[in-house]
């Protein structure tokens, strides 16, 4: 079984300050982990993914995440928030199934960016 826990349902930052969105995972095998973003009235867009290569993963729009096995964490960070980063962010774990790749989503973190 696999699961993810997003520790904060809402995060509010000022524009230009760092962003930290926290995620812990649980998996009975070596997981693949993703962050997806959902802007209002838009679909789910992949930000970045970890698949057992480098533990520090760089994604789009300046986001990155670090896989820490000892802490079972995959936190998402960005050095400087922009207004356009306001969206909902989902931490996702995937695992092989009988015939496809099944994603398990966290509950999401709503990021608010203020002037």
């Amino acid at each position: 079984a696999q699961s993810v826990t997003q520790l904060d349902s809402h995060v509010s930052v000022s524009e230009g300050t760092p962003v930290l969105l926290r995620c812990n995972y649980s998996s009975s095998y070596s997981p693949s982990l993703f962050w997806y973003v959902q802007h209002p009235n838009k679909g789910l867009q992949l930000l970045l993914k970890y698949t057992s290569a480098a533990t520090l993963v760089k994604g789009i729009n300046g986001f990155e995440a670090e896989f820490k096995k000892s802490e079972t964490s995959f936190h998402l960070t960005k050095p400087s928030a922009h207004m356009s980063d306001a969206a909902e962010y989902f931490c996702v774990v995937s695992g092989p199934t009988g015939g496809g790749n099944k994603l398990t989503f966290g509950t999401g973190t709503q990021l608010k960016v203020e002037l």
Partner: protein, 115 residues
Amino acid sequence: EPEVTQTPSHQVTQMGQEVILRCVPISNHLYFYWYRQILGQKVEFLVSFYNNEISEKSEIFDDQFSVERPDGSNFTLKIRSTKLEDSAMYFCASSVSGSSGNTIYFGEGSWLTVV
């Protein structure tokens, strides 16, 4: 950039009516999925489809749901007799392969409202 497209973007239907949600996956992808997100809840896996058959389905995907690839491009989700609790955003997705870590690309969703 290739994308998954979904129609309709929004549909309102009466309880008990049949609904078909349509999707065009990315053209060279072989695995197709439906996920749903009830308002305020997690994104949940419904079903995966490969080689013209269901490869895995969740407990949500009961007998009122069915999927079909009627031609070489479309992938549909049919809900036979809609219930109020079927109101949700339904996301179609596709991937090249079914291995863990392979990126799954999502469409923008079809918002279904059952009244």
